[in-house]
């Protein structure tokens, strides 16, 4: 883990990245990857697309770093870029949705059985998430995957905190129905 991550505030990292410091940019990527991924995942529905969008969004953010008027809130600014790119990506996917999606999994887990189990669970989760509305997906991923509080989720998605709670409640109920109790238990002990 690079020494910059966690020890420097966002504004300082943005200032250093603007000067071309690779370590500062990498620290920003590591710090904001999870919320970016959760947002992209909610909007596209697949991990592969979410990863592509995150990569594009971070590069786009670097190109336009001077446009970030509140460097201390670079996370929120970045998520806006992620959302824009996810919407563009979905439009692009609609055009070429007949093409097969290549499965890419660069990393190999040490335990192949565990990796297979995990992969199967991930697919079930992706499938179940796909049945939710976009807003429900965003709320449940930002809250349960990223660990954001309702206040943060509400601010980010421009909804009320009450609405965030309601969407989360419904999303969790639907996910449980889709996944089934056995999958959730298996998942919990994996």
């Amino acid at each position: 883990m690079p020494p910059l991550e966690g020890s420097t505030d966002d504004a300082a990292l943005v200032a250093r990245a603007r000067r071309g410091e690779a370590a500062a940019f990498e620290a920003l990527v590591r710090r904001h990857y999870r919320p970016a991924f959760a947002t992209a995942m909610a909007l596209t529905g697949t991990r592969e697309d979410a990863e592509d969008i995150c990569q594009d969004a971070f590069i786009k953010a670097l190109e336009r770093l001077e446009d970030c008027r509140q460097p201390e809130r670079v996370g929120a600014w970045l998520l806006q870029i992620v959302r824009n790119r996810a919407h563009n990506h979905r439009a692009w996917r609609k055009v070429r949705e007949t093409e097969p999606i290549e499965e890419r999994d660069a990393a190999v887990e040490h335990d192949p059985h565990r990796a297979m189990r995990r992969d199967a669970l991930r697919r079930k989760l992706e499938s179940a998430l796909g049945t939710l509305t976009e807003l429900q997906r965003q709320v449940v991923l930002l809250h349960d995957l990223e660990g954001m509080a309702h206040k943060e989720v509400a601010e980010l998605l421009d909804i009320s905190e009450v609405s965030s709670r309601q969407h989360l409640f419904v999303a969790r109920r639907l996910l449980r129905e889709r996944l089934g109790t056995s999958t959730i238990e298996e998942y919990a002990h994996d």
Partner: protein, 117 residues
């Protein structure tokens, strides 16, 4: 009905450290030329910035000197009117006589020649 969080760690991109490092590495590799360009651009501006202060100081000093010389009150040189006769070395009394049209008295002649009272 329970409202416990759903365990979504299978979707967590950071859960697998090796995979996450690869993801970050892919982004930073793409970012490298952009970061290099930023660094180079900043260095170019840095050179200019480094010279900016001394150049400004020098310009300010020149402006100060020029301004001071412009604002300094000019020395008024009062020069008396010089007649043509004086300019060519003729005593003014002779020129007066010539201009009056009447001949000088003997006393005037003595005064002009330096032998008078």
């Amino acid at each position: 009905m329970t409202d416990d969080p759903i365990d979504l760690t299978a979707l967590d991109p950071t859960a697998d450290g090796t995979r996450f490092d690869a993801l970050v590495g892919a982004i930073t590799a793409r970012a490298e030329p952009l970061l290099r360009a930023r660094h180079a651009r900043l260095n170019g501006f840095g050179q200019i910035s480094a010279w900016r202060r001394p150049v400004l100081l020098l310009a300010a000093a020149i402006a100060l000197v020029a301004g001071a010389s412009l604002l300094r009150p000019r020395q008024v040189t009062t020069r008396s009117e010089t007649t043509l006769a004086e300019a060519i070395g003729t005593p003014s009394s002779l020129a007066t006589w010539a201009g009056s049209g009447s001949p000088p008295s003997p006393a005037d002649l003595l005064t002009t020649s330096g032998e008078g009272p």
